[in-house]
Structure formats: C-alpha cells, structure tokens
Symmetry: C2
Subunit: 144 residues, 2 copies
C-alpha cells in the first residue's frame, strides 16, 4: 500500500534559478486573501526588471483588495508557476511571495505595455499589476 | 495599441460543469492565508463524493494552518484547476472555495486511499486533506 511515502524527494531551487524558470512568462496563478477567504486566479504574466507583471480587471476581486491596502499596508500576494508533466510526474514549481501594486507611474506603465502582457481572458482588463518579490522559492522533481 | 480591451469575454460556467471538468483529477493549486501572507502550492488531487482530496506533508505549511482552526473556525482554502492552451489562448479555469479538513475518520481515509491520490512530490506526505466546496465557479474562453 502506498500511503504517501513514495516517490523522489523534491530538490529545492534557488531564487535565481526560479526567476530563470519563470522568465519566459505564460500562465501563472495569483493567490490573495480576502475578507471571505483566499482566492486563486489564473493570469497571463511576464517578468520585467525582477518583478512579475500581469493585467487584470478594474473592479475585479484583486482591484477591490488593492484598495484595502491604501493606508500604507502592503497587499501581499502569492504567485505560482509550474510545469508538471502528469505522465512522467516530473517538473518544477515556483512560488513568488511579495507585494502587489497597481502600476500607475507613466514610465513603468510604458514598460509594462512594451513587454506586452496579454491577458488570457478578454473583456476589460486595463489594470496593470506588478508583484515585487520578497521571497522566491521553488522545487523540482526528477526521477532517477 | 492593445491596452487590455481585446479578446473574447469569458463564459461563466455552472458549478456542475465545473465539477465535471475537474473530476478526472491531476494537478491543481491550493491557496490559503497564513500569518505572513497567502500561499499557493501545487498538489495532485482527485475528486470524491463532491469534495476535492489531496495529500500533503505533516508539519508543512498547510498542516500548520489547519492547527490554527481548531477552535471551531473553518480553515478556508481556494483550489484552482485550469487547462489553458497558451498557443490558441483557449481553455477553462475552475475555482473551488471551501473549507479544508484533515481526513481522520477511518472510513473516509479508506475511501481517500482507494481513489489513490498520488502526491506529485515524494517524501513524507501522509496527511490527507479534503476540501468541502462552498462555492464553485469557473470560466471558459473560446475564440469564435
């Protein structure tokens, strides 16, 4: 009976390697806490100058949460990216923990637009968000 | 200039369709709040009798959080599954919001083991968790 002890022990990845792994961009999942509990939402993201950039909707759940942090309290988020092959059961996952900010400064906004963060879903998603990492951790599974 | 308005508007999915989409199991991401901020972790999961089952490590971050809820406060989690084709930019995502519990009752544990929730990562992962959904939402993107 396999009661949970099997399989290879994951290898911890350094922050630099994690950033390299997620730097091509694509689909990630952003997690944050709300008054009614946590949320996890998929986003198309890119990386730019050590941060994670994505676009979301004005008036959406993230926009509302950002407003709760106006009194100098940072809005903490978790951002997860993984590439896991469910057939070979090998792959990696990266977790970025940090603070999320609306990109408001014109120069940063220009940079964000220049790297073309395409939202996965259409509709009105004109709110640019930058995650400034505080901690970056990751793990990789390889079979011998 | 694409400043965020392009692309198809996502179609909202009903709870029943969402459960059908995630019922084969595979890799999902569980999000929860801790004293130092939110976390999002990939897990191998399966569905069983309307709930989401997965396995994690004793003493890991989720185990610690479960202990904070012993005084009758439910431990709220978000569980996200998606299948997004980054080439065609079509796909779906499902978000399960609910309470997480350790599976302790012998009959439920037997059921959980019978459906073979294989942990993605190896090592000591003998803690079985069940998420009892409170809200199930999802969206699908299709191009015309």
């Amino acid at each position: 009976m396999d009661d949970g002890g099997g399989g290879p022990v994951p290898e911890e990845l350094g922050a630099e390697e994690c950033m390299t792994l997620i730097s091509p961009g694509g689909v990630g999942r952003v997690g944050f806490c709300t008054a009614t509990g946590p949320l996890v939402l998929p986003v198309n993201y890119t990386t730019h100058e050590g941060g994670v950039l994505f676009r979301t909707a004005f008036g959406g759940p993230m926009d509302e949460q950002l407003d709760t942090g106006v009194r100098g309290v940072e809005f903490k988020v978790a951002f997860e990216v993984d590439r896991i092959d469910t057939t070979t059961r090998e792959g990696w996952s990266v977790l970025v923990q940090g603070a999320a900010h609306r990109i408001a400064a014109e120069d940063e906004l220009t940079a964000a637009k220049a790297v073309a963060v395409e939202p996965w879903a259409g509709g009105e998603r004109r709110l640019y968000i930058r995650i400034s990492p505080v901690q970056i951790t990751g793990r990789r599974i390889r079979h011998p």
